[in-house]
Subunit: 478 residues, 4 copies
Amino acid sequence: MRKVYSLQIQYPEQTREFDSRLTKTGRRSLSHSISHSSTDSNSSGGSDAENPEDEVSPRDMQQINSKGNRDFCIKNIKLAGFGRREIELAEDEMTALMALRKAAQSEKPLAAAKIVGCTHITAQTAVLFETLMVLGAQCRWAACNIYSTQDEVAAALAEQVFAWKGESEDDFWWCIDRCVNVEGWEPNMILDDGGDMTHWIYKKYPHLFKKVKGIVEESITGIHRLHHLSKAGKLCVPAINVNDSVTKQKFDNLYCCRESILDSLKKTADIMFGGKQVAVCGYGEVGKGCSAALKAMGSIVYITEIDPICALQACMDGFRLAKLGDVVRQVDMVITCTGNKNIVVREHMDLMKNGCVVCNMGRSNTEIDVNSLRTPELVWQHVRAQVDHIIWPDGKRIVLLAEGRVLNLSSSTVPIYVLSITATTQALALIELFNAPEGRYKQDVYLLPKKLGNNAMDFQNSILKQTHTNEICVCLPA
Amino acid sequence: MRKVYSLQIQYPEQTREFDSRLTKTGRRSLSHSISHSSTDSNSSGGSDAENPEDEVSPRDMQQINSKGNRDFCIKNIKLAGFGRREIELAEDEMTALMALRKAAQSEKPLAAAKIVGCTHITAQTAVLFETLMVLGAQCRWAACNIYSTQDEVAAALAEQVFAWKGESEDDFWWCIDRCVNVEGWEPNMILDDGGDMTHWIYKKYPHLFKKVKGIVEESITGIHRLHHLSKAGKLCVPAINVNDSVTKQKFDNLYCCRESILDSLKKTADIMFGGKQVAVCGYGEVGKGCSAALKAMGSIVYITEIDPICALQACMDGFRLAKLGDVVRQVDMVITCTGNKNIVVREHMDLMKNGCVVCNMGRSNTEIDVNSLRTPELVWQHVRAQVDHIIWPDGKRIVLLAEGRVLNLSSSTVPIYVLSITATTQALALIELFNAPEGRYKQDVYLLPKKLGNNAMDFQNSILKQTHTNEICVCLPA
Amino acid sequence: MRKVYSLQIQYPEQTREFDSRLTKTGRRSLSHSISHSSTDSNSSGGSDAENPEDEVSPRDMQQINSKGNRDFCIKNIKLAGFGRREIELAEDEMTALMALRKAAQSEKPLAAAKIVGCTHITAQTAVLFETLMVLGAQCRWAACNIYSTQDEVAAALAEQVFAWKGESEDDFWWCIDRCVNVEGWEPNMILDDGGDMTHWIYKKYPHLFKKVKGIVEESITGIHRLHHLSKAGKLCVPAINVNDSVTKQKFDNLYCCRESILDSLKKTADIMFGGKQVAVCGYGEVGKGCSAALKAMGSIVYITEIDPICALQACMDGFRLAKLGDVVRQVDMVITCTGNKNIVVREHMDLMKNGCVVCNMGRSNTEIDVNSLRTPELVWQHVRAQVDHIIWPDGKRIVLLAEGRVLNLSSSTVPIYVLSITATTQALALIELFNAPEGRYKQDVYLLPKKLGNNAMDFQNSILKQTHTNEICVCLPA
Amino acid sequence: MRKVYSLQIQYPEQTREFDSRLTKTGRRSLSHSISHSSTDSNSSGGSDAENPEDEVSPRDMQQINSKGNRDFCIKNIKLAGFGRREIELAEDEMTALMALRKAAQSEKPLAAAKIVGCTHITAQTAVLFETLMVLGAQCRWAACNIYSTQDEVAAALAEQVFAWKGESEDDFWWCIDRCVNVEGWEPNMILDDGGDMTHWIYKKYPHLFKKVKGIVEESITGIHRLHHLSKAGKLCVPAINVNDSVTKQKFDNLYCCRESILDSLKKTADIMFGGKQVAVCGYGEVGKGCSAALKAMGSIVYITEIDPICALQACMDGFRLAKLGDVVRQVDMVITCTGNKNIVVREHMDLMKNGCVVCNMGRSNTEIDVNSLRTPELVWQHVRAQVDHIIWPDGKRIVLLAEGRVLNLSSSTVPIYVLSITATTQALALIELFNAPEGRYKQDVYLLPKKLGNNAMDFQNSILKQTHTNEICVCLPA
């Protein structure tokens, strides 16, 4: 099925602690990652089936790619062929990025750019990585998460990539270090997802910032860290916040969630939607997407919302407004999308009926008070990846998905198309910062200029127009 | 909010010219007005059937209301009973305003307020008018449009109302004057819709502004006039712009148009929607509402859009993007919602198939280039109210609705519920300006403070909550 | 197709009694009739405004049509021009019938047919009438309802038409008699809607049946009468039941109601649908259409249903199943679509909240127990056409539409497109019976042969294909 | 209900041939089977990871269950704990069957029934199997497909089960034989899925039919075989055709496909639906479900259809009718749902654009002419389970899913809820045949009596009612 954090639970506790620390920072990022395809392929390729204990660490292996290069550290170079196919598949869907690649390849707006990247290593980031190189950049890359690397993709990229699935914490920082601690090569741009690369450079190689023209950060956590630096007067280069760009907000949330809620629920809880009663908490963009999809599949959806305008929208869209406490006894599912804490608490869960599914699509991992379930009288039963049953003394069980973490990230069901828009935005932000005239950006955190966002949309759009063959989408005013 | 031209076409040419001059100013206002209900009632009441030529002008009549009062000038006091019923019906739907009335009636926040109003005179404005009085205000009222007065409603209000349907231009200004030129009574608040009242006072009785605490203006035209005054340094009191409030934008456009497009088309063109092909030009809030409704009724909808983000939204919402020129031969309807000029031009209409319906839901009356149809080779056939057939030399005819003016205004299909939100906003703006401490507002045009908007929403919402009986819409974070 | 009662309420009581007797027979027929368009036009045309008392009866008038013919009896031949325009508008929408006309006009399959018709006289039946004549038939026509005739349409047809709006009962039978009691002309086909023509011939001119090749009956009442004749061994010619044809069931119910429920509610109750709670009783085709439309407009819909399969369908379609008694306190509207009696009874109405709208879209006029409301403690207030307020002693009022009769018939909102399919079916049934070889049909009531139904659909479909220009709807298997 | 081929592709060719022979018979059966859950579990359980070559055949193993019983033959009894959990999860969703179990457990309507079953062995059939035993039956069970057994479920059932995943053909018949060739135990009921059990008894133990009271057959293939026997006068017991029951047709097709098309496409092709153009061939129940779901997710859907009534329905539902050839160049996906042969042929596929996805949701495996793609100039690339890329000489690739077999069966995405209705129907059919009075059923193939179907629905419905807590779905006429 799909990675992101899905396999954490199978790792020993100390590993989980390290991960949960990372998790707490709440990083989100380009991570369609480890699609079921890769799982399939791995099992046919055999790499996953090997016992972790038996493995030689990639750090101890000597590998060489087809070009004779050895400057990388990955799991298994033999997976390169399969990874290449995954990347090609991703290219087909990432139309905006490919359009940008094509449009700007002769101009090479990133010529002389030396980018260190720290993101998930997936087929989709591979398309970004390779696009940056087509546009003239040199890149070195590490993973921003110890589990999210698609090893076959890393193998296909190989050069200057330092990442594998199942890194230890020590491996994690070693890989990051290998990206920046290179003789005769100094980065002048940082593409970060969570802020670990930025943090490492600050801590270990602060002198490098003299040459760095800017940071492009994709995650909310990374943005928080940058703001802290900025407030402390320590931010010494401009940064662009990709996370809050219009394109990301519009497409990652509404359209992405509309599809991924269905996909995530099928993959984990495997329930039929028709006729089910669902409480969706919050009617922002995420809640709008989730409730529209479930309604379309024949579910009866209740909305809880405290903002009066959003509440009226829900009402006008035909949803029944309710207090969670008033419907929690009768619903088959509760989905949180508020961005707030403790939306679903133990009292609610005590009232739920047998078999009720509880999950979180919001930003925070704290919308469901999962800790309140870690009490002696409740039995936890791990049913399958992302699915736990919590069993009450009277035998009632509720189905908790992804331990309350963000469901569609955990079950990796973000559509590539959406990731494409984000990746294009990252590329455009890098181009902008790298080419901006002296003085346009100060040592501050910037929102992506609207113009850029539009450009990214234009690239996406230009492809749409191709798709809609002869009937292009423009009706010009006279 | 919005103006109503629906009966203009039945009036002699000179009258239309006067009106079209007014029309150019583009005024919008609170005007569910001239609903079919009132038409029905009028015809049974008989007042409409009388020949205009035979009528005595209301200015020449002596009428007296049930309380013995004569300080008003309306068409026919005998219609009061019927008008009262229309007002009661409106009260049932205008829940927010009635909630405000109830909540504030003991407090009387408008005690000592003397309001001159110039709006459409309809059942809905009557509810506003009477609410202001319940809250303590004294009011005098004139119509902002020579045709939009519901005579039976005016009769029910009677006192201090000066308006009838079919005023001459001279009547129009005479009525306005009767509101302000009163011995022993000086207004201290202005509620305007189009700016004519404000303008008249500036011109004739500028001294009155010494006591005026503020202006609440509802139309885009009136706002433009206030901005001109402000730029010229002549605005001598604060004004609140109700037109651009969040509540108005959200509800007037998306939710209102979703319903009124269907209603308007049925009332005028009377076509079945299922299986019809429709081009909707523009995918802003109005276009979103129109296309969602038509899709739901089984139409196949094409969207033309030049903004890339709106275009992508249309695409993600499942609509086919197209250039108008590419689909105009095959569609059964073309609906403009862009806010721009000349979206549908003669070349398009030359290509349309026989029976194609063309109409405008956008703000401007110039989206369809109607003038291009006024050429000798085309025959205009007036089929019924709001419907003209334009006939080509080869016999092809297109069906032009409302002569290209805004369709749902012309055919009076704005839901009362939506008007209720606007009216509540007006009332709250009056309360705010009247009670604001010295210095809070300067001599400038203000957007409605978000807080107020929320309050208005709260009133609306509180009623919603009552509607959703036991299951109130709040899920509070811990 | 369907009967229209809309103006009955304005007639004196004795007239209503006559009509209600007719009503009991429950006739339905081709009657988009009395559309608001015709109402509009009439009032501008002036014919309606005349006082009924002052009128000369059409039976006493001498009129002559443009061809110099006098063999007709209608209200006012001067309305012919306007009526012709209405007919032309109807032709544009009745694509199937026009396609049949075109396809068969050279062949003339009804040459030598002499048809007596008794249907509503509306623009749509006029298109049927004229199509039959193009196909070679001679026709004489009377109205099947004393109020449903569009006088301007009758004027446009003129020859051999005997009908006007507001006939007395005596007029009604006189008109029917004028169709059959003609020297030198004997009918050989009957097109009936309600069975009155058939009944009259049986009673007065039974010898005519020797030449009659068959009866085409459109209404459920007429079918019942034919079955009675058949059981009694008195049916002496074959008859085709158009009412139960597949095309009629599929399109009249689901697709027609989906649009007409919205239109009817707007025209009468004029409420906003968004956010409203509605109970729809019954989830057959009519209930499916109504609930789909309301859901699409943002209403929250509850379904009551006793058939388990329909109930599960409602459930799978995302509707909340409920007992009416359990939701009746909270809903804003109750719509009956069950075909059964006393679905909404006094106990329910006692529980409804103030302003609740009650109406019936089902077949029977007895779904709402209206009689239970005719008690001394309740006040009836007639608000406008089709709308009564019933007021409880405590001031609560419910809004009863069309006095519980079928709403979309009463408010005349059946889409022409749907009527077109029915009319085409009638024409094809006439052709079939007239040309059937000896022995194919016995003296019995037949369902429309599936083949015919398909032909009618093919005609409709062929037009659809034209509509969908180059992309025709066929994908043939290899 | 439906067969599962999903893992065939990983088996050597000779195995596939055997399977494809079975496949040709087109069997369908109760088989949510091989869900990802079971795959997950298997991989954690480790059984799958073992190399098939190394395995000891279950026939050579000595296993004993927790009750000390040895009368079974399965892969690995140690998986029982996990399988029990899967069964419990299935019980939660199979509400109708559990309601039947509860309602009839005291009555024991199958006391003395001795049932041999031959179906897929999955968590869902396990619930059926155990329900039959609760109702009093003794059962012996074999698999109807060599790959579809969930080994952990078989382990949980253990007793009297003879089945494992990856049987050889010889194993297959050996298992069936072990069910019937038992000393001191003779079956009196047969529950079959595909007819292999029935066939085996006819061939080897015809004397057993003397005691058999009836056959319940679930697949279309099995029904065909029974009809052949019947025509040949060889059918010696009554049989009930569960396949064509109303419940199955309504729910398996429309509601099931609405969900499984999305799930199947995500699992295999992993594309975003929003904005995609899709051609759906056929607008029967399956086509209606698929197109409704895709439309709801924002796809633009074209329908090809030759039946005029279905075509008009598509049109009225807002879909664009098209010839496949006219849209095949522009669409992103083609989905066949016609039940006919060669709907998508080589000529179409030659015209498709790069990346177009082609798949089949119809009954037949021949809707896509896959053989036409097996030509030397095209390269097949197996990308992952169920996904092949077919590459044209110019580099264009199309994405073929499940090699043209029925997609949702191949990717195992039939909702359990739907299976529950089918399984309940099977149980009720068994009860009916076993308890029917002498003479009610002759030696013929019966459709499930409507009454029974209703009963099954009632059970399902009764649970629905519980779900919809206090608001039950009944509104009784007076």
